[in-house]
Structures are given as C-alpha cells and as structure tokens.
Amino acid sequence: MSRLEIRLAPINRSVVVKADVARSFAAFTDRMGRWWPRTHSIGSTPLADVIVEPRVGGRWYERSTDGAECEWGKVLAWDPPGRLILAWQLDANWKYDPALVLEVEITFTALEGGMTRVDLEHRNLERYGDKAATVRDMVGSDNGWVGILKSFVADVEAT
C-alpha cells in the first residue's frame, strides 16, 4: 500500500537476569506456566500451565486446571538459545483468532558475569484492524515472519 498507513510503535520490554543465555532461554520456553501472570488467561477455569512446543510451527497454548486447552498462537522462529518468535493470535478480550497474527520476538543476549539480557518486542499491533484474508495469507507464508532483528533499547538498569 503506497498511501499513508497507521503504524503503531511496537512494545519493547527488557529484563536482565542472573542466569546464562541457555538457562534463560530454557526457563522462558519450558516453564512459562510458572511465571506467566495468573491474571492473564483465557480459560474458563484457572490457569494451570502455559506450553510452548519447542519447534517452528509448535503450538503456544494454555492448559486450565480442568485440563482444557486454549490456543494462544504458535512458534514462528525457534533459534535456541538466542532467539524465539511467537505468533500472538489473541483477539477481542483474549479470544483466539487464527486469522490474526502479531509477532512477539524474544532475544537472549549474554552479558558479563554470566548474566543475560532478555529483550522482548511485541509488534504489528495495527493488524488488529487488518482484514482477515490478508492476515491468513501472511500466516501461510513460510518466510513472512522471520524478519530483521531490530536494535533494542536496552533497559539494563531495570531492577
């Protein structure tokens, strides 16, 4: 589209953890259910776990205490221990919408002293207004999402 488009600034968040890159990546992906805020879930019963299947195309979903599973999205890029891109596919009030894809890219960068900076970018917020068909085409594309690593504004002083 050559005409003016509305683009929203992505969300950028960073945190520094006292663990090496490999352990940070593993904790982020294997144990999301342990640290995911319990206030943010879509199941009808309380959140029991959040699962990221460790491969491109893997599911990203929550499991409720009654065993029910609710899709959140999928894995778009799986490059341990440095990078992960997830598709965020939750629409109106935390409803799963397979036609909607927002990217969440997480990078893990080694710092001195065995520490790791975790940078998170949640982008494409303007896609909340996209036509479903357009988004579906994007979902079907193999290479559409693995994009350019952006420079992050590091919040190394975050405590």
Binding site: M1, R3, L4, E5, I6, L8, A9, I11, R13, S14, V15, V16, V17, K18, A19, R23, S24, A27, F28, R31, R34, W35, W36, P37, T39, H40, D91, A92, N93, K95, D97, V118, L120, H122, L125, E126, Y128, G129, D130, K131, A132
Partner: protein, 112 residues
C-alpha cells in the same frame, strides 16, 4: 483482568466484527466520508453508520463534519489503549520470569 484492560477490551471487541474490521481497514489509508466507506462494503448505509458509531464509541475512530458530509478517520489513541494494556502485561510477565529464574538459583545454592 484489571480495570486497565477495559478500554482495550472494548476496542478489540469492536474489531472482532468482520464488517467493522473492513471499515477500519479502509480508514487505514486515510480519512473517508461515510458514503465512500459504504461503497466498499456489502452492508447498507445505515448499517455502516451503526458500525462506525461502534468504532467511535470504542475510541478507534473519530469523525469531523466537512460541509454536509461526515468524515471518519482512525483515532490513534484507540489502538494506543491496546498497546498500553499489552505493554503492562509484558512488564509484569518479565518481572515474574526473572523472579522465578533467580529464585530457582537460590534454591539450588541452598541445596548444595
């Protein structure tokens, strides 16, 4: 959900309707009069006006009078509410993540 999610949830719910998403998409390329917007969708003009009213109530679009016409455009503040909501969520999530990872460290050291 906290109270902060309310405006974002309203905006997302407004965009859950396919016709409203279509109207919103048309507005992404610039301001449009109601008549122009109605030509781009299959629903009737009164229905278009109703959908626009929902988008406006959700803070996603705003309207101005241009002579006898009413012109709609995207209100960036509406999507900004969604952004603020997700930003807040990730801030909390990453803090939890660090606390969990580092408490595991403490547990390990105590065991050793």
């Amino acid at each position: 959900m906290t109270d902060r999610t309310d405006s974002a949830a309203t905006a997302l719910a407004a965009l859950a309707d396919p016709t409203r998403r279509q109207l919103f998409e048309h507005l992404r390329s610039g301001p449009r009069a109601v008549g122009e917007l109605a030509r781009g969708v299959t629903v009737s003009r009164p229905a278009v006006s109703q959908h626009l009213a929902v988008l406006k109530a959700a803070g996603l679009v705003r309207d101005t009078a241009a002579g006898t016409r009413r012109v709609y455009e995207i209100d960036p503040k509406g999507l900004g509410a969604i952004r603020a909501w997700l930003d807040d969520m990730w801030g909390g999530a990453l803090q939890n993540f660090r606390a969990d990872l580092e408490s595991e460290d403490v547990g390990k050291k105590e065991k050793e």
